[in-house]
Amino acid sequence: MGQITLQGVQKSFGPVHIIKGADLDIADGSFVVFVGPSGCGKTTLLRLIAGLEDVTGGAILIDGRNVVDVPPAKRGLSMVFQSYALYPHMSVRGNIAFGLKMAGIARDEINRKVESAAATLNLTPYLDRKPRELSGGQRQLVAIGRAIVREPKAFLFDEPLSNLDAALRVQMRLEVTRLQKQLGTTAIYVTHDQVEAMTMADKIVVLNGGKIEQYGSPLELYEKPANLFVAGFIGSPKMNFVTGDLARQQGATTIGVRPEHLKVERDGQGGWHGTVSVAEHLGSDTFLYVDAGPQGMLTARYIGELDLHPGDKVSLIPDPARIHRFDDSGKSIHA
């Protein structure tokens, strides 16, 4: 079991409010990703759940029990750190076994558990090596091994893949997702990378300035962003925002269209007219940065290759069903 509930959790460092009241329900066995820009409080929120920081207010419930006064080790959670935080003088075996040893478990039992965890992660050949003799990906696996061997109620991941190179990150992303599904343990994963968030999560928590902006499944966030911030943060390239008369005609202060929902036509009639200022040809996609006069700079994404160059005139036709409308306060208007 690993059901985690946050009720009005607050955290201040002196006069600075980092978390301004977070309410969240994390279902048992789900994979929840905290995502947001730097300094939004996502790591702090994770550390509050872990118990590495004390809450200023509110309650954290794990399986219905308030744990704000429970020390980290007794919360039944385990954490994978950004720097891996492996114990450098211990072998891989010693690293994975440390938590069990501290819990006073018998040596036979420890060995059995360590070996089964190592087998799950394909670490068996490396059990007697020191962390410095391992590659970055292997170290990450050891850190994960240290987390799973304690059979926690939930895993907490603090940007665990940010130190790996791009190719390895994709591979480890799959590995972590696979493992979590296989074990069926609740996981909370902090990242600033929205691709990681979209691909790994069952549910995403978008944080900004210490507040939860939206909590929902990846596609919910993509299709129905609650406000301007979420709309701009989720999706790459960023959503285009247009204000002024065009928005007012739609009954909104701001309207947003994703680059992939703008149809590009050469010298077309309808839509918004503009001049290509930069064209990025990726082969699979073409990204166009179009100077559309009163609408400002717009980004359009075309699937496949489109033979356009800077200076070419184009018209961009937004998909009417995919226009997002926002009111004065930035909230979404749903028809």
Binding site: L52, A73, F81, H89, M90, G99, M102
Partner: protein, 290 residues
Amino acid sequence: MATQQTQLLARTLLTPAVALLFIWMIVPLALTIYFATLHYNLLDPGSESFVGLENFRYFLTDPAFLASLQNTLVLVGSVLAITIILGVPLALLLDQQVVGLSIVRLMVIAPFFVMPTVSALVWKNLLMHPVSGLFAWIAHLFGLPAIDWFNDAPLFSVILIISWQWLPFATLILLTALQSLDEEQKEAAEMDGASAISTFIYITLPHLARPITVVILIETIFLLTVFAEIFVTTGGGPGLQTTNIAFLIYSQALIQYDVGSASAGGLVAVVLANIVAFFLVRIVGRNLEA
């Protein structure tokens, strides 16, 4: 970029410095070896004659030699033990966030900057003096008799003074090492359920193994040749109780004016230092390998 030309140039430019260093080292060594084979007493000028290894036999069979060797080892070992056993907790304390920490740190480090002669004089005359010393005054406050430190516990007193001087050094090195300990490692240990003591034993102490090795190696080099503190406080006495090898050689040369025997003693000290260094590197040097 090591072409033949640059190599030649580099060697040519290095030669004067290397040659100077070599001469600087080899001339005193050669002269010492030469003197060690002579009967050479300053009180008996003009009587220099070759005596072979007689000076070595004389120095090594002198009962003062074994006594001073023992004193040297006791002194080095005790100071090492005291500075490390006290240095670790002191460094742990200084690693905490407390108000006024920078001043506390400065005061803790200060003894290391005091000249050995000065600190020995301060300890001898202001602190340990049986009549006018601070310790005697404190003893009187409690109605106890004053301790005549340099008569009753001479070697211990010297060890105390030298430990006081070297404790800041050990603390400083250990403190910098503590500050380089990854915070996330301690948090990982906390998540793993380690208590403060377990964290210290399993995480902090192994992390300190290398700096402790550095402290042992550096302190040993300097402690083998301690001289000023002994010269100022006890003059090697009472009897031979605080005479170490360095002081014995000094007394051979400048109290007994026996240059030949002192030179032989100097060479014995070089060999002894090398033996100690050899074992030290074998025992603790493993920690220095990356």
